[in-house]
């Protein structure tokens, strides 16, 4: 695995998202209220726009989610699965926290 530093923990407030550029991929990184960090693809599969990181973080029936700011479909932060369309899923990326920084691996 090839881990890359994305930002320091303080750059990612709770229940917020930021976008990152990792090996030419655009990645959306989120931090939940339970202080877990997730990384998904940043491109909204429904519109093709790179906006997922700007969605609202919350939960649906306890599952942590982000909703696309474009047309509001919700995606599971854990699996990338779209909760409004079983056939759509966002890619997920391995993410970890080390020494107060956040790192993502691409391959």
């Amino acid at each position: 695995m090839n881990w890359q530093r994305i930002c320091s923990e303080s750059d990612l407030p709770t229940e917020f998202g930021v976008a990152a550029l990792v090996d030419g991929h655009t990645v959306a990184v989120f931090r939940t209220a339970a202080d877990e960090v997730y990384a998904l693809g940043n491109v909204d599969p429904f519109s093709g726009a790179g906006v997922i990181s700007r969605g609202i973080v919350g939960d649906r029936d306890g599952e942590p989610t982000v909703s696309s700011p474009m047309h509001k479909q919700a995606f599971s932060l854990r699996s990338g699965q779209c909760l409004d369309d079983p056939e759509t899923r966002l890619p997920t990326y391995p993410v970890r926290r080390r020494a107060e920084t956040i790192e993502i691996a691409t391959s």
């Binding site: 890359q4 530093r5 994305i6 930002c7 750059d11 990612l12 407030p13 709770t14 229940e15 917020f16 930021v18 976008a19 990152a20 550029l21 990792v22 030419g24 655009t26 990184v29 939940t32 209220a33 491109v43 599969p45 429904f46 519109s47 093709g48 726009a49 790179g50 906006v51 700007r54 969605g55 609202i56 973080v57 919350g58 939960d59 649906r60 029936d61 306890g62 942590p64 989610t65 909703s67 700011p69 474009m70 047309h71 509001k72 479909q73 919700a74 779209c82 409004d84 369309d85 056939e87 759509t88």
Partner: protein, 845 residues
């Protein structure tokens, strides 16, 4: 189309007949000619009083106006019938035209009765029946002056209240010892007299007008009453009863009833073959009916006969009545005076609360015969349909259902008439609910017409929905079991300052894209913190989070505020320079300003720095907030302008800028009645008059266009601003998420009337609180963009990538069209149409 039906009189009942014949005559046997003496087509006479202060004439239009575009119907307005020749079967019009008929229906209504007192013909004496009459009264009215209404019945009280609304000091003179003697008994009359007096209407009962005095200008100057009172006034309104208009009886060879009116049988047939009479001019078996519901029943019976549906007869009248005065509830139904043999009366009077209720029962107290309710007529809707039916519960439980008991719609038998204006039964309504065709009141209205007449049955429609278990849940989303307005009150009362605290105390889970922005808007309405402070930032929709509108390709648009659409050439040049420099697409918006599209997140601060330096500020195009106050040029330039609409629009836009609300708020100010600013299609619209401003509220374009309704008229600048402060704050506090002003107003049982009572008359006593809240908003306003530019922490979020802040997003591409950029088409891995179905209401801005 080989037969001609002539209808004389285009009032409420004549219009209904035309509508019904047309509906039941698909083979088009009938050609219909309607002669209407009034200059405009039939209107809602029942709602006439509203015209005095609020409604424009076009708001009194009756449903079914498409009949006039039907080639089968020829409507002649401003044309009367002069004579009928039954031998030749022709009607001679005041235009001199002779029209042949195969069937003739007289629907000429009534005229007001003016008692034969000296001076009753002087200028200054009016009656209360038509739009023209009301125009005359309004023109003659004078703020602060005395006005006298002769007649203390239903109409007289409406007229007196209208004078009061016009700012006059009304007196009511009634010969009987109490007001509304026909409907109300002695006990009820006493309570009614007090309530009317509290409205500021002076009541003189047991007195009549003795003489009307002529002043030096030839008009009325004073009135003496038989009890010796002299009232100095130059405005008198006679409302002392009505007389059927039966002037055509002689020429048509028709018999009259004993007290006037065309004598007809139970099928509304006169003695002449092929001639009917309906509505107030018809004396059915000798008796005239002065209400609209019996008239509608007659129209329906005659329409049946004309279209070969058999000999339907007039089924007898429901004489139930309800007074339409704000703050004075009076209802009377059935045998209100207990005149039936052996009738028993059950009476409850509460002098402290100012309420009186009486039920009339048959001799063994098992069947309801009628009743009188004064001061609180809430149970009217459930009681009225029970007349003639066995009592479903003890009388006191029917009168006070809240005290526990069998009141409410559940107590009604299936065949009870719920809407008497349109004769719709409980079973009809229950039917559309259970078949799933109606899930709310609006749908019941459109499926059955119930509730679209006088509106008094609307609470019953709600009751029937509740009873059927149609839950209109007001939970915001899965995280909050409460509505936005309830959460607003919770936040206001508890002082909760953050979403986290609110959801942990009053919700479950961690929130979502529905509740987070809604709570953000509530918090914004109650504090002066920046919307991107701390946790607040995480609640915002992307538009608010970046203070710009997101576009289809993930770029943003920039809309600086241009108050009232007024802009200097220098500022226009700045906009052009900024757009050129950053390669933005520019467009003039529908809101009188300029939108610049195609900005990437990381460019927004630089663009705004240039704009703020040039004196621009945020236009809040991204927020559920005040958008624009559109203006026309007004007196500055326009040769028709009567007020300075641009200055007013600038003032209002600057006053309410930044106000966060349940939905966006748009406004307009027009300098005269030509209305070039389209103010009546806005949430609030201000239209100049010779005397000041008329304030309209509840308009919008969009999916369900609405014309704004008149809230108050002829306001001076300061009063206009005060009413607007209250109106907007009341909306911000009590509307639901994504409810624009129109839907919010409609959500009150009495609609605009309720809003007027709160905003103009301050019946809830909250006006000063609302004004203070607005004053705080205005004092705390700062430009959101200027604040971001001075705050390094907030600025740090405006980057394309957290690990490559300057790198443009590779997914954003543009092509060119007509010399400007536009988003390059995107190949989608997933078909765009799939996914959560979202209503367009939910789009972010």
């Amino acid at each position: 189309m080989n037969r001609t039906l002539v209808v004389i009189g285009h009032g409420m009942v004549g219009h209904r007949l035309v509508e019904e014949v047309r509906e039941r005559d698909p083979e088009r046997h009938w050609r219909i000619v309607v002669l209407g003496e009034e200059p405009i087509p039939a209107y809602d006479r029942v709602g006439l009083s509203a015209y005095m202060t609020e409604a424009a004439a076009e708001e009194l239009v009756l449903s079914g106006q498409e009949v006039h575009r039907d080639e089968r119907v020829r409507l002649c307005t401003g044309v009367g019938a002069e004579r009928v020749d039954p031998q030749a079967s022709t009607v001679l019009t005041t235009d001199g035209e002779s029209i042949h008929y195969d069937a003739l229906v007289l629907a000429t209504g009534s005229r007001p009765f003016v008692p034969p007192v000296e001076g009753a013909e002087l200028p200054g004496c009016h009656v209360y029946r038509t739009l023209d009459d009301l125009d005359g009264i309004r023109a003659a009215s004078e703020t602060g002056a005395e006005g006298v209404v002769v007649g203390g019945g239903l109409l007289g009280l409406e007229a007196a209240d209208a004078l009061r609304e016009l700012g006059m000091r009304p007196h009511v003179v009634e010969l009987a010892p109490r007001l509304m003697p026909v409907q109300v008994d002695e006990g009820g009359g006493a309570v009614l007299g007090r309530l009317v007096g509290e409205l500021g209407i002076e009541v003189h009962t047991g007195a009549a007008v003795d003489s009307v005095h002529k002043g030096p200008h030839g008009g009325v100057s004073a009135v003496s009453l038989t009890d010796g009172t002299v009232i100095y006034t130059d405005l008198l309104v006679f409302s002392a009863g009505i007389r059927p208009r039966d002037e055509l009886a002689e020429s048509a060879g028709l018999e009259r009833g004993q007290r006037g009116g065309y004598l007809v049988d139970n099928g509304c047939r006169t003695g002449q073959p092929g001639v009917w009479a309906i509505g107030e001019c018809a004396a059915v078996d000798g008796r005239c009916h002065g209400l609209v519901a019996p008239g509608y029943q007659m129209a329906s019976a005659v329409a049946d006969q004309l279209t070969g549906r058999g000999d339907t007869e007039f089924g007898g009248a429901d004489e139930a009545t309800k007074l339409k005065l704000v703050g004075v509830d009076v209802a009377s139904f059935g045998d209100a005076h207990g005149r039936s043999d052996g009738a028993l009366e059950v009476t409850y009077a509460n002098n402290a609360a100012g309420t009186y209720a009486k039920l009339v029962l048959d001799d063994d107290a098992s069947t309801l015969l009628g009743g009188v309710l004064v001061g609180d007529a809430e149970t009217y809707n459930t009681l009225r349909p029970l007349v003639g039916k066995p009592l479903p519960a003890a009388p006191e439980q029917l009168l006070f259902p809240d005290a526990g008991g069998g009141g409410g719609t559940g107590a009604l038998p299936d065949d009870a008439t719920v809407c008497s204006c349109h004769n719709v039964s409980k079973a009809d309504i229950a039917g559309v609910i259970s078949s799933g065709r109606a899930e709310d009141v609006a749908a019941i209205k459109s499926c059955t017409k119930a509730g679209t007449g006088c509106g008094s049955c609307v609470p019953m429609l709600k009751g029937l929905l509740d009873e059927a278990g149609v839950v209109t849940s007001n939970a915001l989303c899965e995280h909050f079991p409460r509505s936005r307005s309830e959460l607003f009150e919770i936040v206001r009362a508890t002082g909760v300052e953050s979403f986290s605290e609110l959801i942990s105390r009053y919700g479950t889970g961690r929130g979502c894209d529905i509740c987070k922005p809604a709570v953000a808007s509530i918090l914004a309405g109650l504090s002066d913190a920046h919307i991107l402070d701390d946790e607040q930032a995480t609640l915002q929709d992307t538009n608010d989070r970046f203070l710009a509108n997101m576009q289809r390709n993930g770029t943003y648009s920039v809309v600086p505020r241009v108050p009232a659409g007024e802009i200097t050439p220098d500022k226009l040049i700045t906009l052009g320079q900024v757009a050129t420099e950053f390669g933005l697409y520019t467009k003039i918006t529908g809101g009188q300003r300029v939108d610049m599209f195609g900005a990437r997140v990381e460019q927004l601060p630089e663009i705004w720095r240039r704009l703020v330096d040039a004196g621009f500020e945020s236009g809040h195009a991204y927020g559920k907030a005040l958008r624009t106050v559109k203006s026309c040029v007004g007196t500055d330039w326009c040769r028709f302008g009567v007020q300075d609409s641009v200055s007013m629009a600038v003032r209002l836009e600057l006053r309410y800028r930044g106000l966060r609300a349940p939905h966006k708020i748009k406004a307009g100010v027009s300098g005269c009645a030509r209305e070039c600013a389209e103010a009546r299609s806005k949430d609030f619209g201000v239209i100049a008059t010779e005397k000041g401003w008329n304030l309209y509220v509840g308009g919008n374009g969009g999916f369900a266009p609405r014309h704004a309704g008149l809230l108050a008229s002829d306001l001076d600048d300061e009063r206009l601003v005060v009413l607007l402060d209250r109106f907007l704050m009341f909306y911000v506090r009590t509307a639901e998420r994504l409810q624009r002003t129109a839907g919010w107003i409609e959500s009150f049982d009495s609609g605009l009337e309720h809003v007027r009572a709160v905003v103009v008359d301050d019946v809830l006593g909250i006006a000063s609180d609302l004004e203070e809240a607005m004053a705080r908003h205005i004092a705390d306003y700062t430009d959101e963009w200027a604040a971001v530019l001075g705050d390094g922490e907030k600025l740090s979020r405006f980057v394309s990538f957290v690990n490559a802040p300057e790198a443009p997003d590779p997914t954003i591409e543009f092509t060119e069209e007509r010399g400007q950029i536009r988003p390059a088409p995107i190949d989608l891995p997933t078909p765009a149409a799939r996914g959560r179905e979202f209503s367009s209401e939910e789009v972010s801005a």
